[in-house]
């Protein structure tokens, strides 16, 4: 790494290299990869469309129902979007500037640290700009359309959003250094990281469910909603008036001139000064601490290997394989997130999702729907955890051949994997069932479920989980995707994960719909009338699940040695 003046040609080259590596432009894309990219794009568009729809309902609630002025609404929405943009910007800056694996490589190039910093910062700034625009524009346009704003408002909005995008980027650069210091400290504290991830997942999901519940309540109830309550409205207005300095953006756009300090021109000057202060602070902090923080990060990566084990614990072959398989999950944030964090967070997610859907179903068709609904919710969430088994072979990565030469039969190795995933899946199902039993069986919870319901739901879910685990491992044996470059970590979801998720969600819907529909008496389908008791519905589903489990176990273990032998990375 050279220490010299900035060469903009180097910055340009570094930036181009960065973009190319992100787009996988260094290799020729196969048709399959192109199709996958298209699917990813469509998936992203669907998620964004859902977000815009949610924004529309919220804006309608605030502006139309509650009668908030555009100024107050934009103050609240700007606070939300700038908050989210800042969190995303911090994540992007930390990942790209400090945690990116290419830092070690770039240090060997004939480029200076400042050039690397500038090249990466350009990407972060662009990323932040796109995120801010995508988040803020729907709020501004929808609010303007609902409030009947003039044409000038829309042009002003575009200018204001561009101006607004600077603040998250500057804050992110200021905050990234302390964040990285903390990350370097806790990087090897796997349990702590896992707990933090679980708390973050649960917190975000609860917020999301509350938002979804409000939207559904709004859709279902066209009468006066709680926003129309004068005290709530007054609190929102008070909050908007006091949300400095973010509300200044709204004052610039739609502020009046009756209060002197809210004059748009004056507010713009305040914002300009604030952004300038943050920008200068971010510049000096980043340029002075970038190099040392990266070095600290690279050095602390190896700290986990410092721990010395004086004696090797003697374990059985099965125990050794189980131990290895378990610790493999802690190997990366991705694995921990997809598996253990999801497994631990599943009961919370099941509770909130079930509470929302039960309230909706009970209001519409009564409590009869609840057991089938609970079955659907538990299977669908456990599916996410089980999908991890569909990378059980692929995750071996560079060391796959090791599994072929160790003096342990392939069947034992696969049994170990199945045992571990089965145990974690079972634990998750038990926790989910205990949660719904505690919440919905007592009178206080509406007595929506009986102990029989919970017992049978557990049995069916358990059979489904084991069957899905067998099928997931079978699919990965059939077509594994090894990442042989880098440290072998499987970062991107492969097709087996997608198939496992799709099959799991489809199965959950099938089971849930069957249980919900056939729980109702006097069901008429064509010329046939069904009068099934709950026990009969559960019996059929348990029988089918048992048959699927036997079939999937046979698929996994029959000719396993031969099929495993054929796997070539």
């Amino acid at each position: 790494m050279k220490q010299s003046n900035i060469s903009w040609q180097s910055v340009k080259t570094l930036f181009r290299l960065d973009l190319r590596s992100r787009k996988d432009a260094t290799t020729e894309l196969s048709h399959k990869d192109k199709a996958m990219n298209v699917m990813n794009f469509i998936f992203g568009v669907v998620i964004y469309a859902m977000l815009v729809a949610g924004i529309y309902f919220f804006t309608n609630m605030f502006v139309k129902r509650a009668g908030l002025s555009l100024e107050h609404f934009l103050s609240v929405s700007n606070l939300l979007t700038i908050g989210v943009s800042t969190i995303i910007a911090i994540s992007t800056v930390v990942k790209n500037l400090y945690m990116n694996g290419d830092n070690e490589l770039l240090f060997r190039f004939p480029v200076s640290g400042t050039e690397i910093l500038i090249a990466k910062s350009i990407y972060c700034a662009l990323h932040n700009f796109v995120v801010t625009v995508l988040l803020t524009l729907p709020f501004h346009i929808i609010a303007g359309a609902i409030a009947g704003a003039s044409v000038g408002y829309y042009f002003g909005s575009i200018a204001m959003i561009i101006f607004q995008s600077f603040l998250p980027f500057f804050i992110a650069n200021l905050v990234a250094i302390p964040v990285m210091k903390i990350v370097n400290l806790i990087k090897n504290q796997f349990l702590l990281v896992l707990i933090l991830i679980i708390i973050a997942i649960c917190g975000c999901f609860v917020i999301y469910m509350n938002a979804l519940s409000s939207v559904l309540g709004y859709l279902a109830d066209n009468r006066v909603n709680f926003f129309a309550d004068p005290t709530i409205k007054a609190k929102i207005i008070e909050f908007a008036n006091n949300s400095y300095p973010i509300n200044l953006y709204a004052f610039v756009l739609v502020g009046g001139t009756e209060v002197v300090w809210r004059h748009p021109a004056l507010c713009f000057v305040y914002l300009l000064l604030m952004n300038g202060a943050f920008g200068v602070g971010a510049y000096f902090t980043t340029t002075r601490c970038y190099y040392s923080t990266i070095l600290c990060g690279i050095e602390s990566e190896k700290e986990s290997l410092v721990k010395v084990h004086k004696t090797n614990k003697v374990r059985s072959v099965f125990g050794t394989l189980l131990n290895r398989e378990f610790f493999l999950i802690f190997r990366s944030f991705n694995y921990s997130f997809q598996y253990l964090a999801m497994a631990c967070a599943a009961p919370v997610m099941v509770y909130y999702c079930n509470a929302l859907a039960s309230a909706m179903g009970t209001k519409s068709v009564g409590t009869t729907i609840v057991p089938g609904l609970t079955l659907l919710v538990i299977i669908i969430f456990v599916t996410i955890i089980v999908s991890f088994a569909s990378t059980s072979i692929s995750r071996e990565g560079n060391v796959f051949y090791h599994t072929k030469i160790i003096p342990v039969s392939y069947t034992t190795q696969i049994l170990t994997k199945l045992f571990l995933y089965g145990i974690v899946g079972t634990a998750s199902v038990v926790l989910c069932c205990v949660t719904v039993a505690a919440a919905f069986v007592p009178e206080a919870g509406g007595a929506l479920l009986t102990p029989l319901d919970v017992g049978m739901i557990f049995l069916i879910c358990e059979l489904v989980v084991l069957a899905e685990t067998c099928l997931s491992i079978w699919a990965d044996i059939k077509s594994p995707t090894f990442n042989v470059s880098g440290d072998g970590e499987l970062v991107a979801a492969n097709k087996n994960v997608a198939v496992a998720l799709f099959v799991g969600i489809f199965t959950a819907i099938l089971y849930g719909v069957f249980a919900m529909v056939f729980s109702f008496q006097g069901l008429t389908l064509g010329k046939m009338t069904f009068d099934m008791q709950p026990a009969e519905v559960y019996g059929i589903l348990a029988g089918v699940s048992g048959a699927i489990l036997i079939a999937s176990a046979c698929m996994l273990f029959v000719n396993l040695e031969k099929r495993y032998q054929k796997i070539v990375p």
């Binding site: 997610m349 409590t367 996410i384 994960v497 109702f520």
Partner: protein, 196 residues
């Protein structure tokens, strides 16, 4: 992988809500959806007796809500029970079968005299029916949908003075003092001022 998982977590609740909505629509067309509950907006009601207005539309007095929303049969019927007549004179005549019950429900606002003298325990009316009140009394008003019942305790009271009675001795002598007592009809009538 993390992005896929986050995306899935965002979509799953929406999928569940859509499935529940579709199943609800389907079963409401194909199966019998039993009534889960019926509730009244009040469990205690005071009606001021007015001899000029004896019939009250029940739906104006109380609002009954039958759940679930898509129940196959959301109709309900009104009835009354535990009828207690406060007016002793009226009660004596009612017991003798000479006059109608102090309160009863009926489908119509106008009721023929012979119908009024029937047994009120068997009387029910639809949700559009009327409550007929003939004197001061209390009773339990019931709304029943399928097998579910909601009740409201109703008190028929009077705050307006219908008549007053001065209670004083039959004869008085010169120089005698006597206390004048006044009794209002109904006894719970609210009297704001007296002029002797």
């Amino acid at each position: 992988m993390k992005k896929v998982m986050v995306g899935i977590l965002v979509i799953i609740p929406v999928i569940i809500v859509l499935v529940v909505a579709m199943v609800s629509v389907f079963v409401s067309m194909s199966a019998h959806i039993a009534v889960d509950d019926i509730t009244l907006d009040k469990n205690y009601l005071e009606i001021e007796y007015d001899s000029e207005q004896s019939a009250f539309k029940l739906s104006d007095l109380l609002t009954a809500t039958v759940t679930p929303d898509r129940a196959s049969n959301k109709t309900y019927r009104w009835s009354i029970s535990d009828l207690v007549c406060i007016d002793e004179e009226y009660k004596a005549e009612w017991d003798a079968g000479l006059i109608p019950a102090p309160a009863f429900v009926h489908e119509n606002q106008e009721v023929a005299d012979e119908e009024m003298l029937g047994d009120i325990d068997d009387d029910t009316c639809s949700h559009d029916g009327y409550l007929h009140i003939n004197t001061y009394c209390s009773f339990l008003l019931k709304a029943q949908a399928e097998t579910h019942i909601a009740t409201c305790r109703v008190y028929v009271v009077g705050f307006k003075v219908e008549s007053i009675k001065v209670i004083i001795g039959d004869t008085m002598t010169v120089g005698q003092n006597a206390r004048i007592e006044v009794e209002t009809d109904p006894v719970e009538a609210i009297v704001e001022s007296w002029i002797y």
